[in-house]
């Protein structure tokens, strides 16, 4: 469980994080999303105890991050943005070292290293030097070190960065399984990843939380209501007539092609019956009426502005 209350971090006069508050329970995966420099990494670093907060408090696994740092550190698995690897060591030597500093018991150490290597797809890589691995494999080793001590809380900063599409699927499902009895926070730039992995997303911008909602909740913020993509068999301008329907709030004309007018209808409630009635009265055919599900990208752009999204 993670509880952050009014977390603030200032570097001199620059406020990297300002009054961030949220809670993440056990069994949840929460995505931290935001443009570059939004304050995601700084927040994660405060939660791991790497840097202190200027103001505010944070509790991880029941311990205060700033008062009981060591208890928190031993209960958190952390993957920083760049996997923290000693390139001169082999995968086996490195994981052995991490298990030692994490005080994984001797009797279970080898078994644990083997299990973790298998889980992240590193079987047969034990003697490979870390410096000789590809970016994707380094990322896997980074993930392996974060879970070697079987922590109840995982904080992952861009965990799938550098992975190819095949690796992505495997690692995502691995993270999803991990979350069954853990608390997981991950930051990412890839919104499809948030959709695929997370129950909830916290959108952060300019160091502030601008939205904290379920994925569906974030999507529903787009366009303030329901949208339908409508295609009508007419060359007449119908946007004005549609706009006068009681359930329609706005109509966007998407242009016409081969005698079919295409429109995006913003409605307060399902307007299909009204549109069908209008088509019947006006005497034109209805080619299509389908609900347009807003994407997370649209929601995100609406929250932070498109020019800052990279």
């Amino acid at each position: 469980m993670i509880v952050a209350e009014n977390l603030t971090k200032r570097f001199g006069t620059f406020a990297a994080v300002q009054g961030v508050s949220f809670e993440v329970g056990t069994g949840q995966i929460v995505g931290f999303i935001g443009p570059n420099g939004a304050g995601k990494t700084t927040t994660m670093r405060m939660l791991t105890g790497f840097i202190p907060a200027t103001e505010g408090t944070a509790q991880v696994a029941g311990f205060d991050v700033f008062e009981s740092t060591m208890q928190v550190r031993s209960r958190v698995g952390y993957l920083p943005e760049t996997p923290p690897l000693y390139m001169e060591l082999s995968v086996g030597q490195y994981l052995n070292f991490i298990a030692d500093i994490r005080e994984v018991g001797r009797s279970v150490k080898l078994r644990r290293i083997g299990a973790v290597m298998e889980a992240v797809g590193l079987e047969g890589f034990e003697n490979k030097l870390l410096g000789s691995l590809s970016k994707g494999y380094r990322q896997r080793v980074g993930l392996a070190q974060a879970i070697i001590h079987d922590p109840p809380v995982l904080i992952l900063d861009e965990p799938t960065s550098g992975l190819d599409p095949n690796q992505l699927v495997g690692i995502r499902s691995f993270i999803k399984n991990l979350a069954a009895d853990r608390t997981v926070i991950l930051s990412t730039h890839i919104l499809t990843e948030v959709e695929a992995l997370c129950d909830r997303a916290i959108v952060i911008d300019h160091g502030r939380v601008v939205a904290d909602d379920t994925i569906d909740g974030l999507r529903n913020r787009v366009g303030e209501g329901i949208r339908y993509r409508v295609e009508l068999g007419t060359t007449r301008p119908v946007a004005v007539a549609l706009g006068q329907l009681s359930r329609v709030s706005q109509v966007e004309d998407l242009g016409s092609q081969s005698g079919v007018a295409r429109l995006m209808v913003h409605a307060t409630e399902d307007p299909r019956a009204e549109i069908a009635e209008l088509a019947k009265v006006e005497g034109f055919a209805v080619h299509a009426m389908e609900r347009h599900a807003p994407s997370l990208e649209e929601a995100f752009l609406g929250l932070v502005g498109d020019e800052r999204w990279a």
């Binding site: 202190p52 550190r73 920083p80 001169e88 060591l89 500093i101």
Partner: protein, 237 residues
């Protein structure tokens, strides 16, 4: 203790994989041989005194090059973030790194044992003087490595860390000649007290004074304490 031991082992492993350690080893043994030859040829004495005195100065320049990676490289590569978010007490991290380099120095000093052996073959060296000379070199290594570890904790650039280390140790060298140049008796006493030559010189002649040993031990503890403060302050920057 277990964590410090794990860090000690990891550091030694990483050091011996890097070419820097081997370059250092060759340079150190070459200089030791050169100083040994110079000592013998200049006065024909069956003694390692000249070698010991010169090696102590050479170590001032060489050791910071060996320690420069300790924290600077970790900060640059991001592994310091790993260490500072794992349940690793700072003292374990500092002592583990410091002890690994001191251990490497002990191995190197052991290798220079060849020179007293040569002396013993051809003459009759004073083993007491040889032993106190080695004690002095071990103490030098402990203090210089601590200074190097400290300078490495101040920057993310290993080369800058190495140069800073030399800069921190320089005063202990230059205060020796400077003490003989000043007029004021007080200044001379202070400079002599600071000078490596004062403390190492006695030991290379076979004299072990508690004050000299304490000087090295205090210097070591002082630099290790500064390293701890420097790493601690990273959190608050």
């Amino acid at each position: 203790m277990g964590i410090a031991w794990a860090i000690f082992k990891k550091e030694l492993r990483v050091t011996f994989v890097s070419p820097l350690a081997w370059v250092f080893l060759v340079a150190f043994l070459f200089l030791a041989g050169l100083f040994f030859y110079m000592g013998i040829s200049s006065n024909g004495e069956a003694s390692t005194r000249v070698m010991m005195a010169n090696l102590s100065i050479a170590l001032m320049f060489l050791l910071p090059m060996l320690t420069m990676r300790h924290f600077a490289e970790e900060a640059r590569s991001g592994t310091l973030e790993l260490m500072m978010t794992a349940p690793v007490p700072l003292w374990s991290l500092i002592v583990g790194k410091w002890a690994s380099t001191v251990a490497l120095c002990l191995v190197l000093l052991l290798m220079t044992g060849l020179f007293p052996a040569i002396l013993a073959y051809y003459g009759e060296p004073d083993w007491g003087v040889v032993a106190t000379g080695y004690l002095g070199l071990v103490l030098c290594c402990m203090m210089f490595v601590a200074a190097g570890v400290f300078s490495s904790s101040l920057t993310e650039e290993p080369v800058a860390g190495g140069l800073l280390g030399v800069l921190f140790l320089m005063p202990f060298w230059v205060t020796g000649p400077a003490a003989e140049m000043v007029q004021s008796a007080t200044a001379r006493t202070v400079l002599r007290a600071l000078a490596l030559r004062t403390h190492m010189g006695a030991m290379s002649k076979g004299v072990v004074d508690t004050a000299d040993v304490s000087w090295f031990l205090l210097g070591t503890a002082g630099f290790l304490f500064l390293t701890w403060r420097s790493l601690e302050s990273r959190r608050w920057r």
